[in-house]
């Protein structure tokens, strides 16, 4: 591991002030320390933000404000989150392990980096790690990589489960930086790779996430489901966060669908949502909506399995919510 300076910030303002080129913020470290050990991240300086007084979950009017350093386990155990935003609690609980969730912060979870094996292996080229060096995943192993919104430069996926639920819920990410404060609605924090795959998000250098705010939960039932290679402690092949509100007349009054494991961003399935609104809440309609969304898919040879997997997951999840 390359050597670096370490400092701990006492306030968000101090952390931002302390940030210079080569500086990285340290949350729980469960992703960043690993990437430093692998040689993928080589900061000159770490500013530890994990002890900032941003570790509370507060009701603010009809919204809920989750501090950036709230631990993943505390978020999932919060009675209000469990009762009113069960898809979020479930998404967090399906991620990583008890030990990791106890340490991982909300901000760090959102900003964790792709699990693409080439990205993590410094002996291989990778446009995300070394811009312009190429993307060996496209001709190589892309089994678990993107089928939506990828580019010729990068087909990585974003690995966070929590981010998928936050996308379906329409959460806002509150950020502070030298340019002032701003609010970034989800989806919108993460970006598609385009020809700049080295940029995962729209954050500017030095911008610090201070909180995530949840609007009131959408009406109807909600759920998070995750398909993976083993029953626990594995990243998603595909996941879904969905909410469905079926009116008294049996038509869809509201719906939210976000998909994980498919793209460089947590993917809001807007076409599927549009196809469903006002129509019947039937298996047939759910299938048409899933197909409308997946028309945009451009899978590679080894991840084409994700297309039918996602279609079936959308249909069975919506059927479960409708019944």
């Amino acid at each position: 591991m390359k050597t670096f300076d370490y400092a701990r910030a006492d306030s968000a303002a101090e952390a931002v002030r302390d940030h210079a080129p080569g500086t990285m913020y340290l949350g729980g470290g469960t992703n960043l320390v690993d990437l430093m050990r692998l040689g993928v991240a080589e900061p000159d300086r770490l500013v530890d933000v994990s002890r900032l007084p941003l570790d509370r979950i507060e009701q603010a009017g009809d919204r809920v404000r989750i501090g950036a350093t709230v631990r993943n386990s505390d978020l999932a155990a919060d009675p209000g989150i469990r009762a009113r935003y069960p898809m979020l609690a479930r998404a967090v609980l399906t991620g990583a392990s008890g030990q990791v969730r106890n340490v991982a912060t909300v901000a760090g979870n959102l900003l964790q980096r792709t699990r693409c094996a080439y990205f993590q292996d410094v002996t291989r080229p990778c446009n995300k790690r070394r811009p312009g060096s190429g993307c060996p995943a496209i001709a190589g192993d892309h089994t678990n990589l993107a089928i939506m919104g990828a580019s010729e430069a990068c087909v990585a996926t974003h690995p966070s489960d929590m981010a998928v639920a936050l996308t379906a819920l329409g959460a806002e990410v509150h950020v502070t930086g030298t340019g002032g404060d701003r609010v970034i609605p989800m989806p919108g924090l993460h970006r598609l790779p385009g020809d700049e795959p080295e940029r995962d998000t729209v954050l500017e250098p030095g911008e610090l996430i201070v909180a995530v705010e949840l609007p009131p939960p959408p009406p109807g039932a909600m759920v998070y489901r995750k398909v993976r290679e083993r029953a626990s402690f594995a990243f998603a092949l595909v996941s879904i966060a969905a909410a469905l509100d079926v009116g008294a007349d049996g038509t869809v009054a509201g719906c939210r669908i976000a998909l994980g494991g498919l793209a460089h961003v947590p993917w809001r399935a807007e076409r599927a949502e549009q196809a469903l609104l006002g129509g019947p809440a039937t298996g047939e309609a759910f299938l048409r909506a899933a197909e409308a969304e997946l028309e945009q898919a451009s899978p590679l040879p080894r991840n084409a399995y994700k297309v039918p997997l996602t279609r079936n997951l959308i249909v069975s999840t919506l059927e479960g919510l409708a019944s």
Binding site: Y6, L26, V103
Partner: protein, 162 residues
Amino acid sequence: MEITLQVNGKARTVDVDPRISLLDLLRERLGLIGAKKGCDHGQCGACTVLLDGRRALSCLALAVAVEGRAVTTVEGLASGDDLHPLQAAFIEHDAFQCGYCTPGQLCSAAGMLDEPGPSAVTEDLRTDPGLTPDEIRERMSGNLCRCGAYVNIVSAISEVAR
């Protein structure tokens, strides 16, 4: 950098390179070789310790970042000659073969027993479910055992959870 942390109840002050992990600090500097290095990447749980009473992976923690906090390793679980109930149950239930994963399993189980709330397999997230074997398996999924002693690990933990 000079840091002080509480290790198994004793204040320890050490001069460390910012790169050293808590795991390497415990094993190589403090002579506490209970926590094991299985993967060094967060994937196996062999290095699990308690940080301020909560289970955490010592391989992914920088020593400088845990300054001032209380660390409990497997060496600190027993009180004197009295084994921790989990240690006694692991022996009684034959919950290990080679023993390499055991310190991590023990620390993880000790932390897990105090964790509030549901898990990913809890049907109704508003409830606090009892620690059924299914719940224990899910909650302990961050601890791998190459010897496959899982069945006996779950029964040992079940006995203490009762």
